[in-house]
């Protein structure tokens, strides 16, 4: 008796001829990739563009020097009236100022729902699309921590901002097996008369702190 798997593979092979990994690999090498792959702007312009695009998507952007992050964080949190913040393991302790910070210990979904705010860092920022890339890594945590709370404060060293999507994908190549989430602004929908509404299920409010070198 042939299995469904074998039958479908057989149908595929009889539809277009069988192929081997070697044939696939050599044909793959011929695929043209003429699109833009590297940055075209100066460093300063890239950071400007990133900030513009984040604003486009209703995220707020703040700036801090490498040693002043804690102070900036404390200011933002007090401005938003936030007193208790969920944080992943591995987030620099000097950033955690101005509120009570609770480290994620593998909380259940219901427990996570008890947090209104979360603070993390991120792997990368992409200027041309205003995107931030999160991975399951120290300081960024598992996917659920940046999903359930309504407010996300994200601290990103400016050196991790690239201009193009392609540059970002190439930097991510070495960690491509790790769960990776791209987010561009807060969650949004346009399902009702194409009106953009902020935040259906993910965080509705997003603040970014760009950390410059000193």
């Amino acid at each position: 008796m042939t299995t469904t798997r074998e039958e479908i593979l057989k149908r595929i092979r009889s539809a277009k001829g069988a192929s081997s990994p070697e044939q696939a690999a050599s044909a793959y090498a011929g695929i043209e990739r003429g699109y833009q792959s590297s940055a075209s702007l100066a460093r300063k312009e890239i950071l400007h563009l990133f900030e513009d695009r984040l604003h486009d998507y209703d995220a707020n952007v703040y700036h801090a020097g490498a040693s002043g992050v804690g102070e900036v964080v404390a200011g933002i949190l007090s401005g938003r009236g936030v007193h208790r913040v969920l944080v992943p393991d591995g987030l620099p302790s000097e950033w955690q100022q101005g509120a009570e910070f609770v480290v994620d210990r593998g909380f259940s979904s219901a427990e996570l729902d008890g947090f209104a705010s979360v603070m993390t860092t991120a792997t990368l920022g992409i200027a041309e699309t205003g995107t931030i890339v999160l991975q399951t890594a120290p300081g960024q945590g598992r996917r659920a921590v940046t999903l359930v709370p309504d407010y996300h404060l994200c601290i990103l060293p400016a050196g991790r901002v690239v201009e193009t999507v392609v540059e970002a994908m190439r930097l991510l190549e070495s960690t491509k097996n790790i769960p990776t989430t791209f987010f561009s602004g807060p969650s949004a929908t346009a399902d009702i008369e194409m009106t953009r509404i902020k935040g259906v299920h993910g965080p509705r409010f997003v603040d970014i702190v760009l950390v410059g070198e000193e």
Partner: protein
């Protein structure tokens, strides 16, 4: 809460369904508004990308390559996804896919599932099968929720409820969520959905999704979305079951470079989707503990076998062709009798049905070419439409209208007398539609030299063709007439 799904096997012919829908002014207004908004956003964001044509070409090559070596890449995906702790299942058809998913849900110990919007699960009518097995499915995409609660059917690949306006949505929510005081601002409605679904996200332990791409190299899955409901479904439950067409596989991570740039700009006119999720297999402490991918054939290998129709499978389901299509914009999606509406539906559905159903769909097009122009993976939809029309004619013999028309043309071309008669008839038939040169250039007021006008508008569905171009009227004097007169002079 099961509803009658769109089913190509029982759907009325497109022309009949379209005729009925053309009478629904509200629906047409809603569809036109939504597609106008998306198209305007799309146009702006495509113009912004200087390398757009290069991205398209690269994506076309990647998708065509993946199909050419589909057996190799599916095998590679299966190996890597399995190594990462997931399980791969294969389904020949809808019934087999239903059986597998129902079995897996039961195994997970759940009598409820939360669902991410997925055309594949619509295609195999999964919700009804789950319902029949005593499992309740909650749609979590706002548009799908509107459709589910309204016992309606999807009418667009990306924005399935675009045929409903806020007042209609409010009525559905008021009735089904028991919220008599619900406002009708989009924000009120989204908030109601948020509250309605949050409890389900936190409670239901099994989720069902589709996928945008499968990455062979990593055994990875990529799902793009905007509301965060996708992330909820694929992150919080213990079990995740993804039903994915076999054509969705791409060779490598690197191939996402063009694809994730083309998809959001084409689909919703965004530079990037609010959320892209990428992962491979099970990751202890992060996300579901059990992961299943159901690889679905359901007619796809039949499409693959047709070298001229095969490019249909390159589709990344952005719906740009749908938004651009003058026929779809008039009728909305339900007329297509399938979950895949618009130009992509017109070529995909009949092929998935082995050309036995939906034979009128290849005619649901004006062949204006707008779909080809916007397609991010360069599927030549008009060419495939014509190819499929040929197949329909071949199958159905001489007595269909198209076939009769073709026969009449062939006959006219074979006899000079008949050809001339046809030309005369054509001139008479078109005369009420022809704008004279005088009308067109009345300021210049140059001398009228016979009937050298243009047709700026054609009646009915043909109108889409003349929306974007004028049709030159038939000349009063044919070349042949002129040649003969010249000889006598």
């Amino acid at each position: 809460m099961s509803r009658i799904p769109l089913d190509p096997r029982t759907a009325p012919p497109f022309q009949a369904a379209a005729k009925a829908l053309l009478g629904d002014a509200q629906l047409r207004k809603n569809v036109r508004h939504a597609t106008d908004v998306i198209q305007n956003k799309r146009r702006k964001l495509v113009e912004e990308k200087q390398d757009w044509q290069l991205l398209r070409e690269s994506a076309r090559q990647i998708r065509a390559h993946a199909l050419q070596h589909l057996d190799v890449y599916l095998d590679e995906f299966e190996r890597n996804f399995t190594r990462a702790g997931g399980t791969v299942h294969w389904a020949r058809d809808a019934a087999e896919a239903q059986r597998i998913v129902v079995g897996l849900v039961k195994e997970s110990g759940s009598s409820e599932v939360i669902k991410i919007k997925s055309m594949t699960t619509e295609e195999v009518q999964l919700n009804n099968a789950l319902e029949a097995a005593g499992i309740h499915a909650y749609e979590t995409d706002l548009a799908e929720l509107i459709i589910q609660l309204g016992e309606d059917q999807p009418s667009h690949i990306v924005v399935p409820a675009l045929h409903k306006n806020r007042a209609q949505i409010r009525e559905i929510f008021r009735r089904t969520m028991n919220l008599p005081d619900l406002g009708d601002k989009p924000a009120d409605l989204a908030d109601a959905a948020r509250r309605f679904l949050r409890e389900k996200f936190l409670r239901v332990k099994t989720a069902v999704s589709g996928a945008n791409f499968l990455i062979a190299e990593t055994g990875g899955i990529c799902i793009v979305e905007s509301e965060g409901n996708g992330r909820m479904c694929l992150t919080l439950p213990d079990t995740l079951i993804s039903v994915v067409g076999i054509e969705k596989v791409i060779p490598r991570w690197q191939d996402l470079e063009p694809l994730i740039q083309l998809l959001p700009r084409s689909a919703t006119g965004e530079r990037m989707n609010p959320y892209n999720s990428l992962w491979s297999g099970v990751h202890p402490g992060d996300g579901p503990r059990a992961m299943h991918v159901v690889l679905l054939d359901n007619g796809r290998t039949n499409v693959l076998a047709d070298s001229e129709g095969r490019e249909t499978l390159q589709c990344i389901r952005c719906a740009a062709c749908q938004n651009a299509c003058p026929v779809y914009r008039q009728t909305g999606g339900h007329a297509y009798g399938s979950v895949y509406a618009g130009p992509i539906g017109a070529i995909l559905t009949p092929q998935l049905m082995h050309m036995e159903h939906s034979q009128t769909l290849p005619y649901a097009s004006s062949l204006c070419g707008a779909c080809y122009e916007v397609c991010p993976v360069k599927i030549n939809i008009p060419e495939v439409l014509i190819h499929l029309r040929n197949k329909v004619v071949e199958q159905n013999g001489w007595y269909t209208p198209e076939s009769l028309a073709m026969k009449a043309v062939a006959a006219a071309f074979r006899s000079e007398r008949r050809f001339r008669a046809a030309q005369r008839l054509g001139r008479i038939a078109e005369s009420p539609l022809v704008k004279s040169e005088k009308q067109k250039f009345s300021i210049v007021g140059q001398k009228q030299t016979g009937n050298t006008g243009w047709i700026g508008w054609l009646p009915g569905l043909l109108g889409g063709w003349t929306d974007t171009r004028d049709l030159q009227a038939m000349p009063e004097e044919t070349f042949r007439d002129w040649w003969e007169k010249r000889g006598k002079a």
